[in-house]
Amino acid sequence: MTNDDVEKMSFEDSMKALEELVAKLEGGELDLDQSLEVYERAIALRDRCRKILDASDRKVQTIMATVNGGEQRADFKEIDG
């Protein structure tokens, strides 16, 4: 099993999966192969979460309704004062 799918997971799903895998590995019910798979997937999930947390490219936008019922977004610039 590869862990490529992890790159597409949301932060919330990644954190949830990570917590589940930690508990699973600590349960000690797995055989060695399964343990290693779980371990590697957990590390991949942790790295995914960290990547999202370290991201600095968050967007701050405004949204307005348009007359035809659609929406229009624009970057938000704070106005002082």
């Binding site: 947390l53 968050r58 405004t62 929406e71 938000f76």
Partner: protein, 421 residues
């Protein structure tokens, strides 16, 4: 003759009598204000009178926000409140909860009416309150684009967690404000945000009025995503605050509720990593010790040899440590020197073997296991102490022994023994 009581006791009895008399509680009284004094404490003291009588009255600071006018001498008013005893002075007074100028409709009254109506519908019920998402990707905000509210939210979330912010600019006071706030909530619902903050800064009851209007309350209740309200400050709750899933005292508090602290999450992930390493290390250690114990039971003479063989295989695995693992270990050492240090060499070797794709780790460990012998059809006999019995001479006729096979064990009785020379 009954015993004499103290003055304090007497006045306390009167106080109790007032409190227990419904006709003196929650009454509207009509009259004119005089001797209005506002103290630095924020409390108002005044007299309410009509041509025939007068009564001392007090309005506490906490009730002041309910007024939409400034009390002044000779105003004709209706005051709502109750009679209470001021025990220390032996005088009674009227405690005013709210007032309205005679002839005008009171905002506070409208507020109370809507509050009761929505409360009866169950819109404020605790069961309706939804949990906030733990890690929102997009936070919707309905507020003025120029106020301090949006500034505080942007600053706070930037500090805590990298969530996107989508602002639906709204007019938050004056004519049309309620409709503007409603449109914002609905627009953000369509845009698919994870949580919505609805807010404005503090102000008078008139300034905050949009948040006491029914359409705003309905829009919050109908929102598909949880709503955090941050309207005004401190003690006074607007209807919007009551309907919202969570009420925050300030915009900064609202932002803190919406996102978790990044440092906290990082600490949790460090903890997760330590737990993973510990669990995996324990697993491998457990398997190693299980093999060597079984080995020694099965054939004490070869135990040493077996352990050496195991070590040799592990060395071989270590030598296959691939570039991928080196990178992983390097990264672990950099950020988690302590945690990674606890991963023993056997774990690293097994990881390396797995990454190299040479063979499954279990198969390699399995090759070293006494169980692999059992799976080929051999079995061994153990005595009551669990140790392998390797000589017929050690068996006693009539003794119970355990026969260990690949998939389990059987209890057997020794009926006869023949020693072959």
């Amino acid at each position: 003759m009954t015993e004499a009581i103290t003055v304090t006791e007497l006045n306390t009895r009167v106080k109790g009598l007032f409190g227990a008399t419904p006709a003196l509680q929650n009454v509207w009284v009509v009259g004119e204000l005089s001797n209005v004094k506002r103290y630095t404490s924020g409390h108002y003291y005044f007299t309410i009178k009509d041509p025939g009588s007068e009564i001392r009255a007090v309005m506490f600071r906490s009730s002041r926000a309910r007024l939409d006018f400034e009390p002044a001498d000779s105003m004709k008013i209706q005051a709502f409140g109750r009679i209470d005893m001021y025990v220390e002075r032996g005088s009674y007074q009227f405690i005013v909860e709210t007032m309205r100028a005679s002839g005008t409709g009171s905002l506070y009254l409208q507020y109370e009416q809507l509050k009761h109506k929505l409360e009866a519908e169950g819109l404020f019920a605790a069961a309706r309150k939804r949990p906030l998402p733990r890690y929102p990707k997009v936070i919707g905000v309905v507020t003025s684009p120029t106020g301090a509210v949006i500034h505080d939210i942007i600053t706070t979330t930037r500090r805590l967690f990298p969530a996107d912010i989508l602002l639906a600019p709204a007019q938050v006071q004056g004519e049309g404000a309620a409709a503007s706030v409603v449109a914002g909530i609905q627009l953000l619902n369509r845009a698919g945000v994870d949580v919505i903050i609805v807010g404005r800064g503090g102000g008078s009851i008139e300034d905050l009025w949009a948040f006491n209007e029914e359409p705003v309350a309905r829009a919050i209740a109908a929102s598909k995503v949880p709503v955090i309200s941050s309207v005004g400050h401190e003690t006074d709750f607007t209807i919007a605050d009551l309907v919202a899933d969570v009420r925050a005292a300030t915009p900064t508090a609202a932002a803190e509720l919406a996102v978790r602290n990044k440092q906290e999450i990082l600490r949790q992930m460090d903890d997760d990593t330590r737990r993973l390493n510990k669990a995996l290390t324990r697993k491998v250690d457990l398997m190693r010790s299980r093999f060597s114990v079984l080995d020694s039971k099965l054939d004490p003479k070869r135990a040493r040899e077996r352990v050496d063989l195991l070590a040799m295989h592990l060395d071989e695995l270590s030598s296959r440590l691939g570039a991928a693992l080196n990178a992983e270990v390097g990264r672990m050492h950099k950020r988690y020197a302590a945690a990674a240090g606890r991963l023993n060499p056997a774990v690293l070797a097994l990881l390396a073997a797995k990454r190299a794709g040479t063979a499954t780790a279990s198969a390699r460990m399995e090759a070293l296991s006494p169980y692999s012998v059992l799976s080929r059809g051999y079995s061994f006999v153990a005595g009551a102490d669990g140790r392998a019995i390797t000589s017929v001479k050690k068996l006693r006729v009539g003794a119970t022994v355990t026969v260990r096979m690949r998939d389990g064990r059987a209890e057997a009785e020794v009926k006869k023994k023949v020693i072959s020379e």
